[in-house]
């Protein structure tokens, strides 16, 4: 069938499918960095987007504030009740913090896995196709944001930095299903239980905490936080609360369903978390090795 192969359109289609597969393969493999054309395109679009997105968000904020005014009376009542409790808690936190500091001084322990430096950022875009849950923020490598850093809101963990350009960064939310998107987590039961956050139940909007021991007693409402042992995220960032527990397919482990603490849709102001400890360690070990080399 020579005519069949000479069909220009068919050949175009085949060639473009090959190019499609090649491009998808290229962009799906683990990439340390984006290529420079991608960086250029992302930086220029993020500039335009921040021009549009800021005023739009401001106007939306004003409208929202007006709506909030309607519920002010009810909220005020509720909040007054909580304020009484706050004073007591504050005093307690203060004394505990002080005690902690003193104890750490005695132990001569200066840094912990929980230390981090936050970099404030604002969301300027969100992926509209909603398969990969990605948001773009307005801080990039120029501000010290690096790949794989944790991203939090005031309430808790929302994701990690997927890629960076000089003036923007793309954040992958914890709700996107990605086999490489695993977070080491502790379930704060009477005895802390360790597991990993793997996957997301899109229908019920719950995170899956896998690898809990089959005989562990997990209750509804217990807190889940990061362990800081994955080497990327600092310790004790809140992730969410347990909603239900089910045995896994083979009955060897349990899987807990976690309701994320932070609202994954309404994220506007975020913090990129720079873990203090690991960077110090790296620098020191680098200096040490350099010193040794010079010594030799």
């Amino acid at each position: 069938m020579p005519q069949f192969f000479l069909n220009k359109r068919l050949i175009m289609l085949l060639v473009s499918i090959i190019v499609l597969v090649a491009l998808i393969g290229f962009s799906l493999r683990e990439r340390e960095e984006l290529t420079w054309p991608e960086k250029f395109v992302k930086d220029s679009t993020s500039w335009v987007q921040s021009l549009v997105s800021r005023p739009a968000n401001y106007i939306a904020g004003v409208v929202e504030n007006l709506q909030d005014l309607q519920n002010t009376y009810q909220e005020n009542k509720e909040l007054k009740k909580r304020v009484d409790d706050m004073a007591r808690l504050e005093a307690k936190v203060y004394s505990l913090e002080k005690e902690n500091e003193e104890l750490q001084e005695i132990l001569d322990k200066q840094e912990s896995l929980a230390d981090y430096e936050p970099i404030q950022a604002v969301r300027i875009a969100r992926s509209p196709e909603r398969w990969n849950e990605l948001i773009v923020i307005n801080k990039g490598t120029a501000n010290g944001v690096e790949k794989n850093m944790a991203v939090i809101t005031a309430k808790g963990l929302i994701g990690k930095v997927k890629s960076t350009t000089p003036f923007s960064a793309t954040v992958q939310l914890v709700s996107s299903i990605d086999p490489t998107n695993r977070i080491s987590a502790i379930l704060q039961a009477e005895e802390p239980l360790y597991g990993t956050i793997e996957g997301y139940d899109k229908k019920n909007e719950l995170l899956l905490l896998k690898g809990l021991p089959y005989d562990a007693k997990v209750e509804k409402g217990q807190n889940v936080v990061t362990t800081g042992m994955g080497g990327i995220f600092p310790k004790d960032l809140p992730i969410g609360k347990v909603v239900k527990v089910v045995p896994d397919e083979f009955g060897l482990n349990q899987t807990a369903y976690i309701k994320p603490e932070a609202n994954l849709y309404d994220v506007e102001h975020v913090m990129v978390v720079k873990k203090s400890m690991i960077s110090v360690d790296l620098e020191e070990s680098l200096k040490d090795s350099e010193g040794e080399e010079e010594g030799n």
Binding site: V21, S27, A56, W131, K202, K203, Y265
Partner: protein, 172 residues
Amino acid sequence: MIRFLLPALFAFLFILESLFVELIPAELFNSDRILAPHFLMAGILFLTAYLSPKHGIIYGLIFGFLFDVVYTEIIGIYLFVFPFIAYLFANMIRVLQTNILVVSILSLAGIALLEIGVYQLMLLIKITDLDFSTYVKIRLVPTLILNLAFIILAAYPFKKQFEKASDRLRND
């Protein structure tokens, strides 16, 4: 100046999609539906119908590439799907008449095709693990309703703009 009107319009649609998911109230998203705007696809299909298939496919290529780089970080998906659907659409339009109702219904069909095609690709590369019936229930139907609403609102302005652009091209 008038030469930049079309690219500016599409750049606006491109940003509008992201703005839309940013600003729509969280309650709408926090419920068990997923609404994905495909305003850019609707724009490209109307451009194909009222200006020329060549323009539609070229805009599809350019904005598909931008979409992939900026929003999905997986290059190739929209870069391929936008022009491909524009091409199919152009062939359909050639057979049928360019009545605004026909174009609107066919655009919605194009968007459905885009949704399902991208879903299959995402399933293939394991970005999602939704089964088809859940997908139809929580994503496809709400998405189509949203885009139908957009097409109803935008059909007439699109038609006017693109016919004007086509007149300009003929006069040049």
